[in-house]
């Protein structure tokens, strides 16, 4: 088309129809580039909903915007967030992991059991984290080598692992975990910031770096965008795919560590429905279930949104029966808002 800009052409190569243009090609300003890579375009869309709800809550609940309460919300969103950050990779790759909640429960239980049997605290923690990675590895290998659909594979894993949790625990929580080294993970703080919150920030930073600043992240999203094309440009899909599931398994185990330490008990029914909360957080954040695009900051906002709503319901002492209705509606509204503004944007361009 006549008004489209053209890359500067070498005199020899300039075709008859190209419009000569001063070099170099127009580039978006740096700040915008940073913001868009930080939030992704879709996270930018979910932000207004989040701000609106935060504003509504700070007007209605006096205690909402206090340091104390914000710390609470941060602490409460840690468990889902940590998993959701890793799950952003899986979903961005076009996969899904439904086994994370069960992995969280099982690894927490495993760590607790080892500690109660007198294993060194740090060894027990390490073993639990490795177990999470191992569960992810098995998931990943089954999905990759046998070509099972990730949904079915991790669904089966979820059911099996929940069963293993019941067999392992006999339905009874493991308690008596008052070891101070262990308590530190879930209850300690560094310079006034709770350790779990620091862990969440750290996981976010690592994931952000991996996703946006490394070849690894580029490959993960390329696989999600067009798996066949990714294979044809020579990306080793198998290893990346498996590694992503290892990552979610590991993150689930990390959540298991933080949760168990926070409660000083490993509960068989811990982390029930976490997989759904995780998917909700990732999708609210603007990552497409079809893969290809992922927004880590969006995921963080998604997780925060759900934590904030639950917190708000408690602060306002909203009738029990309404809780689920409100949470579900807010998820729906958040994604509708996102879809609508995406459509408006598409129309405008």
């Amino acid at each position: 088309m006549s008004d489209s800009k053209t890359y500067p052409q070498t005199p020899a190569a300039s075709g008859a129809s190209s419009v000569p243009q001063a070099a170099p090609a127009v580039r978006p300003p740096r700040a915008a580039g940073f913001l868009s890579s930080m939030f992704g375009s879709s996270a930018g869309r979910i932000l207004p909903v989040f701000v609106l709800i935060v504003a509504a809550l700070s007007l209605t609940a006096n205690d909402f915007l206090t340091v104390d309460n914000i710390t609470n919300v941060l602490r409460q969103m840690v468990f889902v967030s940590v998993i959701a950050f890793a799950a952003t990779f899986v979903i961005g790759m076009g996969g899904i992991d439904l086994s994370v909640g069960a992995t969280t429960a099982l690894t927490g239980l495993f760590m607790a059991d080892l500690m109660l049997q007198g294993v060194n605290i740090y060894l027990a923690v390490l073993a639990g984290l490795l177990l999470g990675g191992l569960i992810g590895l098995v998931n990943g290998l089954l999905i990759d080598r046998l070509g099972i659909s990730p949904f079915i594979c991790t669904l089966a894993a979820m059911i099996i692992l929940r069963g293993v949790v019941m067999v392992y625990s006999q339905g009874v929580p493991l308690t008596g975990l008052g070891f101070s080294e262990f308590q530190w993970f879930g209850q300690g703080s560094i310079a006034g910031v709770p350790v779990p919150v620091l862990a969440m920030v750290l996981v976010f930073a690592v994931c952000w770096y991996l996703l946006y600043r490394t070849k690894y992240g580029r490959y993960v999203l390329s696989i999600g965008s067009n798996r066949e094309a990714a294979r044809l440009v020579g990306i080793g899909i198998s290893r990346i795919q498996v590694s992503v599931y290892v990552m979610t398994g590991f993150a689930a185990a990390l959540a298991g560590l933080l949760l168990t330490s926070r409660l000083e008990a490993a509960m068989p029914e811990a982390a029930t429905n976490y997989e759904l909360d995780v998917i909700a957080a990732v999708v609210i954040g603007g990552t497409s279930l079809n893969g290809g695009k992922a927004s880590l900051a969006g995921t963080a906002i998604g997780a925060a949104l759900m934590a904030v709503v639950r917190n708000g319901l408690n602060l306002l002492n909203v009738n029990t029966f309404w809780h689920q209705v409100v949470i579900g509606s807010i998820i729906l509204v958040a994604v509708s808002f996102d879809a609508l503004s995406a459509r408006r944007r598409a129309k405008a361009s």
Binding site: Y7, G15, A23, A25, V26, L221, S222, A229, R231, L232
Partner: protein, 500 residues
Amino acid sequence: MRGITKRFGATHALRDVDLTLFPGEVLGLVGENGAGKSTIMKILSGAYSKDDGDIRIRGEAVDLRGPAHAQELGIAIIYQELSLFPDLTAVENIFVRHEKCRGGRPWILSPLDRGAMRDRTLDLLREDLGVVIDVDVPVSRLSLAEKQLIEIARALHSRADIIIMDEPTEALEAEERERLFATVRRLRDAGKSVIYVSHQLDQVVGLCDRVTVLRDGSHVSTAPRDQVDVASIISLMIGGSLEEQYPTLPPPAEETVLQVEDLTLARDFEKVSFAVRRGEILGIAGLNGSGKNALVRSVYGIRPPDEGTVTVAGRRVTIRSPKDATACGLAFLPAERKTEGVFTGHSIRWNLTIAGLRRTSRLRLRREQERQVTDRYASELGVKAASGEQEITLLSGGNQQKVLLARWLAVDPEVFLLEEPTRGIDVSAKADVYRHIADYARRGKSFVVVSSESPELLGICHRVLVMYEGRVAAVLDAGEATQELIAHYSVQRAEEAADE
């Protein structure tokens, strides 16, 4: 159609275009990408609304309210991307939304009259199109040509008398193409009007009664067939004369870069050997199913060969995956740009640098370097875009193809395996692609070009290897090769030909 104008934002996609279609004629519609061909067809089929101008059908002014309304008025469009449901049968596809039901007033739960629908389908295909197609299997199992015939049957079933075909022969082999032309002529003789949109100018000239040329959203000329030829249409399309479409080829060096010996892949090809020298462009011709695509894909490790050896730059290599192939200095440009080439939703930069990332040993991405590489190759190949950050699917096919080519140029491999490198791109982009291939051949790169367009192979290849039923039928030098010879060997083996 008179004075049709369409704006997208500040851009005039169409400016005051007139178009007349008579009953019982085939009108060719040509123009470069972005000339407005698709836009005017979308307006006629109700997918877009016009900003100005009027449309009269059979003398009556109409205001198209949408695709359904256009269908009611007897306008059917057959898109480039086939719009069939792959898992449904021919019968089910043809009757979608027009299902015949048993009993009186049909509603959503009425029992379907499957027999009647099947009979009608066979009737349509046999009587109106003169073909026999298995109507009981999912259409995904049919060939492309058969799918297209089913689309046409669908159009006929909805009693369309204006049929728009957008780039219908793009994916067809010579034989299927001829069958399609016969069908179009038959439709014309039955009094239907066909608008035939295509980049294949020789076909347009051969088939159409009149040819309309669009350029930059404006109507340039409409002339009967006997007053135009390919060269004159090209000059009308680009608004000037095109330099030689095919570049002059530099002679290749002596050194062999890619040597393939006795390569076999069960059921696809058997004991295929060939060699490519430094700076050489080797063409591979053959019908669909001759194994020509399977061969390059196998060399590239997509489906590794069962037997045989591959030597790259003097080194025997074992290639079990595309990853291995890239490590050995091979590059591959797939024919299916949309499904196998571009990363939808990502920028030109992303798409252009993705293959090159493997070569940097560092984990960390270096954006500045990526931008430099993108800018360099995009400008070298003349990619038309606002910036390297523009999303790739917003580019025209030709520009997308240039980005995909640049993806591999930036990696600096020894041998390029190209499948249908100019499929679906316009004339000047084609010339650009040819020029860049020749250019890189001059710099010592080697190319294997698989194509179903014989003129293209003759124009840019030093030698053409013709495949037939999984074996090499002949290897022709540029000097001796002709379209007739290629066609000849495509249907029989050299020794059989000699026996005659």
